[in-house]
């Protein structure tokens, strides 16, 4: 491995990454498909007010539990609300929580992980034990505990999902950063009198971006699933906000036998979203991981 801290080195590497991505796209059509699905999802979320055929909050009792028709393409729920429109608006909730939790959690984990590796010694030892404590709890248990303390709602759900991501990212990033710490260009930076913050943020962090990006994409999928799980348990976002997990509880449980569309379409949306992000993460890893690249 070669250090990539200089501007002169960076350009050819960026080019080669793009080339590798292009090659991977040809080799891995699933990665392209998942990427396209993510782009489509983001498009739908951004333009939800234009795309959604009906106001997702509008209750229409005259059309309670109507099956898929030309008016309601995916049917209606027990309150007569259009399921398609709620799914479209629900993508906003899923992506908002998914992206914010993943980027903030992984971002904090990135800085902490690199710092821990760079400083080493007692700090590294103690910090890793703290991370061990956090990682001892399964993701959903940790999130449940946090929501129980702070209460439900979008903001608290983001906090609840973000916190468990921090140690997971910090641990992976640290292992990459440990190798970097020993490289001559870091010693050179120290010898030049750069501050710790500059060395960490400017010279080390950019060199662990590959594992970071892979983790972020997998975190988005996990966050969407976790948000859906918390909402399903009644601890996530609250009605009447459109959210996929929320659409799976209440009426979906009660009317599943007589109106299966109430549960099937939100379940499908969650599955596809998580599938897309996980698949994209895998493809990204294949593209960026030198070991896999050589195979």
């Amino acid at each position: 491995m070669t250090a990539t801290s200089t501007t002169a080195d960076a350009a050819p590497n960026e080019k080669s990454i793009l080339q590798r991505l292009g090659r991977t796209a040809r080799r891995q059509p699933l990665g392209v498909i998942s990427g396209a699905m993510i782009v489509a999802m983001v498009f739908i979320a951004v333009f939800a007010p234009i795309i959604a055929p009906i106001d997702p909050l509008q209750i229409n009792f005259a059309d309670q539990l109507v099956g898929p028709t030309s008016t309601y393409l995916l049917g209606t729920d027990e309150l007569g609300r259009d399921i398609l429109s709620r799914l479209i608006y629900g993508s906003r909730t899923a992506l908002l929580i998914g992206f914010v939790s993943a980027f903030v959690g992984a971002g904090i984990g990135l800085v902490l992980g690199v710092t821990s590796a760079y400083l080493g010694g007692l700090f590294d030892l103690l910090f890793q034990r703290v991370m061990d404590v956090f990682m001892a709890f399964p993701l959903i248990i940790m999130a449940l505990a946090i929501v129980s303390v702070f209460g439900a709602g979008t903001g608290n759900v983001i906090i609840a999902i973000t916190i468990p991501f921090i140690p997971k990212c910090a641990r992976v990033v640290r292992s990459s950063a440990l190798a970097l710490r020993e490289l001559p260009y870091i010693d050179a930076a120290r010898a030049s009198g750069f501050s710790h913050a500059r060395i960490i943020l400017v010279h080390m962090v950019p060199n662990v971006m590959a594992p970071f990006l892979i983790m972020v994409t997998s975190f988005v999928g996990q966050a969407i699933l976790l948000e859906a799980s918390l909402s399903y348990l009644g601890l996530g976002v609250q009605e009447p906000t459109a959210a996929w997990g929320l659409m799976l509880r209440g009426g979906a449980e009660q009317f599943f036998e007589s109106a299966p569309w109430v549960a099937i379409f939100p379940g499908l949306a969650i599955t596809l979203a998580v599938f897309a992000f996980n698949l994209f993460g895998d493809s990204l890893r294949d593209a960026l991981d030198p070991k896999l690249r050589s195979i």
Binding site: G153, Q254, S258
Partner: protein, 542 residues
């Protein structure tokens, strides 16, 4: 599909009317058996019914206790049919111009530890309820404003002396929460009954595993001879509705007494046919929306009036009743009671008028006049229970959206929900309910008194005119005049000041296994839970 639904509805209706599992003249009680039922809760908050207000206590614990009076288990639908439990003979009439009530007690009654139950225990229990000592919480203390003192001239006689005659006294006395405790235990520790069970009821407490089950065995020395019929009872705690339904479907439990939404009823009937029995009735429970009078803009009567004008109660009744346990449109009083408002009387009040569009137009004008910031999102505090709280909450938010008011739900578990109402008061409008056991409107409507008079009114309102209207109604002995005064009080609360909003009254739909006999549905899920007059008929399942 339509045909199937119609047939199903007809089957349910027929079953409900015929009450296949309800005792009739041909049913002969059968002794023996273990009756298992589901309690839709995780656990009772404590075992002390004097301080608690939930079925999570009544359903599993009531069979271990006696009360002085009770609703007639053969006729629980009649809000004025009471019978003696620990007292003997008929329910006594008041003497001394209705200000003295004398009760003669069964002799030889014993607590389950063998100690005799005397009038001293009755007095100690009611003193604790009516005049609770410092540090003891009594949830229904306000029901007994008419009681002056309790005397015990001999071990088998209790005398209640009233300050004024009141038709509300006997119904209040028959509340199922009025467990008779041992004076000896209370003398040692007033909080002993919070964590222990010792009564004189038809069943003897045997075992409790928190969050799982509670069991009891037949009391062989029960003072009502020939009762109970069952050998053993087991209450299974299961908060999740799907678990309750599966327990009934799989015949692991024979009943759930709180009630199910209509869809669950239909599914159970479709799956089990005549192996289950449906009993339905109006419910002495109403869901309220309580504006926070301490917080602008809801301290402005124009805004509160806009809130009530926006709500389509008649339409909501029609459609919500298909998916939730609410149905009946009503005012302050339980709709089936003689003191309740008629439809015409209701339609004269804001929020009940038949012309919904005109009401909503008026609501928008009022909001404009009051200068309400329509870009703001207000908080609707709600309880984390699907039926009917969250379903009705979503509906209300939609109704208010129709006049430009935006609300978001803050859904919380029961503990934090009450903490918000009582302590932090961080809400703009909150869900609330008025669920009572005995149908006793003069007492039940005390819920709407000023918050400093009745702390259970969480709106924060203090209005002496309203309190005076209530008191005039309460003290009125003539039924016709009392009805008129109830209308004045109701109009003030729901129309003039809109101190709180009545949404819809609940509708109770119970489904139980048809082999469970002798139990009759009542307007309250707190009533009919002594289980001494019910039995099992295994032949029904064959």
């Amino acid at each position: 599909m339509q045909g199937f639904r119609a047939a199903l509805a007809a089957a349910v209706g027929a079953s409900a009317m015929l009450g296949a599992g309800v005792a009739n003249a041909d049913d002969k009680p059968i002794y023996g058996g273990e009756f298992t039922f589901v309690v839709p809760a995780n656990a009772p908050p404590s075992f002390d019914a004097h301080r608690e207000t939930t079925y999570a206590v009544i359903h599993p614990v009531r069979p271990f206790y006696s009360t002085l009076l009770r609703v007639n288990p053969e006729n629980p639908g009649d809000p004025s049919d009471f019978v003696c439990d620990l007292c003997v003979g008929d329910v006594p009439e008041g003497t001394n111009d209705g200000k003295t009530y004398t009760f003669k007690l069964h002799e030889g009654v014993k607590f389950h530890d063998g100690a005799p139950l005397t009038s001293a225990d009755i007095k100690a229990s009611f003193d604790r309820i009516i005049f609770p000592p410092e540090g003891v919480s009594s949830a229904r203390k306000s029901f007994y404003q008419m009681v002056d003192s309790i005397d015990t001239p001999d071990p088998a006689t209790v005398v209640f002396n009233l300050k004024f005659a009141s038709s509300a006294f006997i119904p209040a006395l028959a509340a199922p929460y009025n467990f008779i405790y041992s004076k000896a235990k209370l003398d040692v520790d007033q909080h002993w009954y919070e964590k222990n069970i010792l009564g004189s009821g038809p069943f003897i407490f045997k075992e409790y595993q928190p969050g799982a089950f509670m069991t009891g065995d037949k009391n062989p020395d029960y003072y009502l001879k020939g009762l109970p019929y069952l050998d053993k009872i087991t209450a299974i705690f299961a908060n999740k509705e799907s678990v309750q339904v599966q327990a009934l479907r799989g015949n692991r439990a024979s009943a759930q007494f709180r009630g199910f939404p209509p869809k669950v009823r239909d599914d159970l009937v479709a799956a089990l046919g005549d192996k289950v029995t449906v009993q339905e009735t109006d419910w002495n429970c109403v869901l309220l929306a309580t504006p926070n009078h301490d917080r602008p803009p809801f301290n402005d009567v124009r805004v509160r009036r806009a809130l009530t004008l926006a709500v389509d109660r008649w339409g909501g009744s029609e459609y919500l009743s298909k998916i939730a346990i609410v149905k009946t449109v009503g005012g302050l009083v339980y709709p089936k009671h003689s003191l309740a408002a008629t439809k015409d009387e209701l339609e004269a009040l804001d929020g009940y008028r038949p012309d919904l569009e005109a009401s909503r137009a008026k609501a928008r004008e009022l909001l404009k006049e009051a200068g309400v910031d329509l870009s703001k999102t207000y908080i609707y505090n709600n309880r984390g229970v699907d039926q009917p709280y969250k379903v009705v909450g979503v509906w209300l938010i939609d109704q208010w959206r129709q006049i430009g008011l935006n609300f978001e739900q803050k859904v919380q578990p029961t503990g934090p929900f009450y903490a918000t109402l009582r302590e932090s008061r961080d809400f703009d409008v909150s869900a609330d309910f008025n669920c009572q056991s005995i149908v006793n409107p003069p007492i039940d409507t005390s819920k709407y008194l000023s918050s400093d008079v009745n702390p259970a009114n969480y709106s924060g309102i203090v209005d002496r005119k309203m309190d005076a209207l209530y008191e005039a109604m309460l003290l009125e002995a003539d039924p016709a005049k009392q009805r008129m005064k109830m209308r004045e009080y109701e109009k003030y609360v729901l129309h003039d000041e809109v101190t709180q909003l009545i949404t819809l009254w609940w509708y109770r739909t119970t489904v139980h296994r048809s082999h469970f006999k002798g139990w009759k549905v009542s307007p309250s899920h707190y009533l009919g839970q002594a289980l001494d007059t019910v039995w099992l008929d295994p032949s029904v399942d064959k």
